[in-house]
Structures are given as C-alpha cells and as structure tokens.
C-alpha cells in the first residue's frame, strides 16, 4: 500500500475556505491536490524551496518576490489556508459580487486587493511606500544585466516623478492606485478557472 499523506480536507475546512476566499468546492479540492503534490516533505506546509522547485516559477524574473508574497512577515512555512488566501487575489471578479452587501468585508479578489498584491511586489521592506531604491531593485530583477545603471536610474526617476503627488519622492499605495486607475486590473490580474 502506498504511503500517501492521508490528510484529506475536512468538509468544515472547505466551507471556511470557501467563505474566506470565494473559491468553489471543486476548485478548493483541486488546489489542495496541487498543494499536497508540491509539499515534498509531507508535513502540511510549503517552504520556499517547495515553490522554487517549479521550473516555470524559477525562471520568472520576479519569482522570488512572488514566492515571498505567500509568506507572512518572518515566517518560513505556509499552510493550506495561507496558500489559498494568497491565490484568492487572482480569482476573477464575478458580476454578482459587485453588488454585494456593502457591510461585508472586501473580498480578497477585489480590484483594490489585486492592486495591493502588485504594490507589495514592489514594496520590499513592507513599509507601505515604494522608495526609489526599491523601485530600482525590482527593475533590476526584471531586466537582469541588459540595461545600464544610469538608464535604469532615469527610468526609476521618471516613474516616481509621474506618480508622486505629495513630494516625498516615493510612491504610496494611493498614488499607486491613481497611476493605474485606467488599467484593466480585473482582467490582467485574474486567472481563469476551468471548473
């Protein structure tokens, strides 16, 4: 008989995740399958190495930043709930959600939360501001060795100049939202599910 980690997901847990993230029952079980197949240590959590084992992610220039988004400050392991919470940002926004009860807390896949995910990719030290230095570092990750420091510097300067409104030479989340107000965030930061 095989030595499969037989920690099948309990129904109550699936319901909780459904409420929190908005994923459907079948989507949750499929993603749980995926989670367990990535979990080589079979201990119910994923480490950074587990993510880095995915070749397509390893060759993504921002792979490390994306992996980092799954781990809360100072932690090295992420469990299934945390995994789903982060993935939920990429759920497409459905029409009936737009007219939902305004007192309910904002869903994880709202436009603002999608923008927040992207903002946090830039904000390396998590201080809610993108400094020139941070922007430069992320740009460097995206372009590798192909652009000189000066050119990259001028790109960063130009970007901050256009976005910064309160003159503190860095981009806050609200300024970030303003710059991207016309971009179709709903579509570009969503992943279409087949079920």
């Amino acid at each position: 008989m095989g030595s499969r980690a037989s920690t099948l997901l309990r129904e109550e847990e699936i319901e909780e995740i459904k409420k929190e993230t908005g994923f459907s029952h079948s989507q949750i079980t499929r993603l749980y399958s995926r989670f367990t197949s990535l979990d080589k240590g079979e201990n119910g959590t994923l480490s950074r190495e587990d993510f880095q084992r995915i070749p397509e992610l390893a060759i993504n220039p921002l792979g490390d930043r994306i992996i980092n988004a799954f781990f809360p400050e100072g932690e090295d392991q992420v469990n299934f709930r945390g995994f789903m919470r982060t993935l939920a940002h990429f759920r497409p926004i459905e029409d009936n959600e737009k007219n939902k009860d305004p007192t309910a807390s904002e869903p994880l896949n709202s436009r603002t939360n999608k923008l927040l995910f992207a903002f946090r990719l830039y904000d390396l030290d998590r201080d809610d501001k993108i400094s020139r230095d941070e922007l430069l570092q992320v740009l460097r990750m995206m372009v590798g060795v192909n652009i000189s420091d000066e050119q990259l510097g001028s790109i960063a300067d130009r970007t901050i100049q256009e976005a910064d409104q309160n003159g503190d030479n860095s981009i806050s989340f609200n300024e970030f939202i303003k710059v991207l107000e016309k971009v179709d965030v709903e579509q570009k930061m969503s992943i279409r599910f087949l079920h």
Partner: protein
C-alpha cells in the same frame, strides 16, 4: 507442472486481453485535469496590451516602463504555482476513475461497501494468484536467459551463434512479457529498426526494454551494474555484442560516442536501443532528448510507447520506489497494456544540427503516442533549472524598455 502454471497464466492473460481489446477505441483518451486556462500570449503582446488599456498619454510616444508591467510577471508566476507543465510529469498520472488498485487511489475516499468488497476480492486475486504465478515465470525467464546465453557464448562467432542468440533472447523476453502479463499491440511493424541503425523511444520504465526486445533484437546500451543485474548483463554480452560501459567511462562523452559509432558502422551488428530522455517520465509527455545519439549520423528509427494507465501504472518513480519494489508492484497489477508504434526511419537533414534533429524526432514520437511535446529537460526531476532561461526572459523584457528609446531618438 510448468505446463499447468503456464496454462493458468494463459487463461488469466486471455481474460484480461479480451477486456482490453473491447475498449480499444477508447484506450488513450487523454484525461485533462487542468485547473486553469492558460493564454498562450507572449511577454511582449501581453505587456503592450496592459499598457494600452491604461495609457494616459497619446499612443505615439510609447512609454518605456509602466508600473503595470509587473502584472504580467505576477500572473504568470501565480499561474505556474497553480499548475505547471513539468513537476506533474514526475509522478504517476491521475486516473479518471478508480481501477481498484490502492496505489492509484489519490482522491477517492470510501464510497460503498460493495466497492470495498470488490477491492478486497481484487487483492486476493492479484496477490494470491497472479503474483506468485508471475514471479515464477520471471525467475524462469531470467534464469534461462543467463544460462542459455552463457552456453551460446562458448560457440565460435558466426551465423549459427547469431541465429541461436536471437532465438534465445526473443524467447526469454517473451517469457518475461508473460510474467508481467503485458498485452502489447505493435503497429507498423514494417518500420522495425534494422542493423546499423539507432532505435530511440520515449522512456517510462525499465519494462520498455522488455517490451521492445521481445519483438526484435537490439544491442542494449547502458552502465554495468553490480549484483543480479550485472550477472545478466555479463552473460548477455557473451551471446551478442551489447554496449556496456563502466561507471567511469560514462562521463567521457567522446568515448561513448566513439563506441556507439563503431557499433553502427558494423552492419552485422544489431540496432542500438537508446532512450534519449535519460530518465523515466510518467508517459503523459516526452521531454528533452539528449543530443548525443543524434550526432552519430546513422539512421534513427523512432518508436513511441504508450501505456494504458487503467490496468496498471507502468511509470517508475525512482525517487519513491526501488527497482525490486517497482517490479513487485508491476507484477501485482492487473496487467500492463500498451501500444508500440514503429515510426518511419529518419535521417539528419542538410543544415540541421543535432539538437534540431532530436527535436524533430521527439515531435514525431509525441504526435504518434498522443503525448505532450515538452522542451523541458527530464533532468529537472532531480536538478535545478538553468539560469539561462531566466536571463532570456529578462532580455526579452529589457528589449521592450530599451527598444522604445531607440525609436524615440529616431523621431
């Protein structure tokens, strides 16, 4: 006594065979378990689209960098976390419905008493009846192989020796096929590999060798092992020239290439059998072919092998199971059902280098077997991906930023 054992096995085989052939037309419907839909757009296309949708300025002065560019990388990254093309190739394929083997039981929980009873019955039959039968046959087959090839080795080289060697090899491999209850359908036999050629096939398990060698004679290539495997290898080579390498010689690419090309030049020697992926893949895809065998310059005979996962999963996950464990699992499955297609021979064309040739052959095999054709290296099973791929992505993106500057300076 042996006759009785053989006839029982024959009955069991026929029963399973009939079942398999009835479902033949549905045999290889690929089970698509994809979670998400991936758009096959390029980096450039997508980033341009993102920028266009959020553009505040007129489209003539195309911008160099937009903060929204990051959306592309973020989405691609998370897509690959949800579902990627590579990591799933190194574990057994998921089945659409349960085939009463516990080992294929991933997502199916306890459903009903009847199913459990059926499963219990299955266990009794498989372990109590089929397994002992098959193990006996396996020992017979291997024992005969070692014994007879050693005897033939005493004969002087010549036509008689080759003839006998052929007969002995075929007979012993066919006994082994019975020992696994492998039901094999060979297609296009007219394309069978000939002397002086190299036969390449996709690799799923060590059983591939037995399947191919029971229908034709090949010169095997591989590293000399110790133990039982080594004994078998050493006696096989007495009867006909196989190419075994010492562990130290394997690293020397020139030596390997030289021995292979010497072998194919001698037309009296059998075609070489090689698995260019270099490792076992789970039979849903074909991964990168190592170019070594395609540099030699002889005719290549591609062969596609596709197993039907419903009767028994043939994939050898070497990081999970050892060889003996694996063989026992094989022999206690219902059966191994597979199809072998002999594809028309291919030669390297003018102006085509070894890598392109290898990819062409790989595409042909993937198409025939209904497998996904991947460029990824099977070595990723154990090793890390090379940095050059990431650097390619970075270069592509840099072009988008820097390229527009050049346009601007022109206007």
């Amino acid at each position: 006594m042996k006759k009785k054992v053989q006839s029982h096995n024959l009955w069991a085989t026929l029963r399973i065979e009939r079942g398999a052939k009835e479902k033949n037309h549905l045999l290889y419907k690929p089970y698509s378990n994809a979670i998400i839909a991936k758009e096959p757009t390029s980096l450039e296309e997508e980033i341009k689209e993102i920028r266009r949708s959020g553009s505040n300025r007129d489209l003539d002065s195309a911008s160099e960098f937009e903060m929204s560019d990051i959306f592309y990388f973020a989405r691609r990254g998370v897509e690959s976390i949800m579902d990627d093309e590579v990591t799933k190739r190194f574990s057994a394929e998921e089945l659409e419905s349960w085939n009463l083997l516990t080992r294929s039981n991933y997502n199916f929980h306890y459903i009903s008493l009847r199913l459990t009873v059926l499963w219990g019955l299955g266990v009794l039959i498989r372990y109590g009846f089929l397994l002992p039968l098959r193990v006996t046959l396996a020992f017979t087959g291997v024992g005969l192989l070692v014994f007879l090839t050693s005897i033939i080795g005493l004969l002087p080289n010549g036509r008689m020796k080759n003839f006998l060697s052929e007969k002995v090899h075929l007979m012993c491999y066919r006994i082994c096929v019975r020992a696994l209850t492998a039901i094999i359908t060979y297609h296009d036999r007219e394309n069978k590999p000939k002397n002086g050629g190299i036969c390449v096939a996709n690799h799923t398990s060590p059983i591939d060798v037995i399947i191919l060698a029971s229908d034709g004679c090949y010169a095997m290539v591989g590293q000399i092992h110790g133990g039982l495997m080594g004994v078998i290898q050493r006696s096989m080579v007495k009867a006909c020239p196989h190419i075994w390498f010492e562990r130290s010689e394997v690293k020397d690419r020139h030596l390997v290439a030289k021995r292979l090309s010497d072998h194919v030049e001698d037309k009296s020697k059998l075609p070489i059998l090689i698995f260019p992926e270099g490792t076992c893949i789970n039979n849903t895809s074909v991964m990168m072919f190592k170019k070594g065998s395609f540099e030699i310059g002889s005719t290549v005979y591609p062969v596609a092998i596709k197993y039907d996962p419903r009767f028994g999963d043939a994939f050898w996950n070497s990081s999970k199971f050892g060889m003996v464990n694996y063989l026992l699992r094989m022999m206690s499955s219902w059966a191994i059902v597979c199809s072998v297609w002999y594809l028309p021979p291919m030669c390297r064309e003018e102006g085509e280098d070894a890598v392109q040739f290898a990819n062409r052959v790989k595409a042909a095999i993937a198409r025939q077997g209904g497998l996904v054709d991947l460029l990824w290296d099977g070595g990723l099973k154990r090793g890390k991906v090379k940095d050059t791929f990431k650097e390619e992505q970075q270069k592509l993106y840099s072009k988008m930023l820097v390229g527009t500057q050049e346009d601007r300076s022109r206007s």
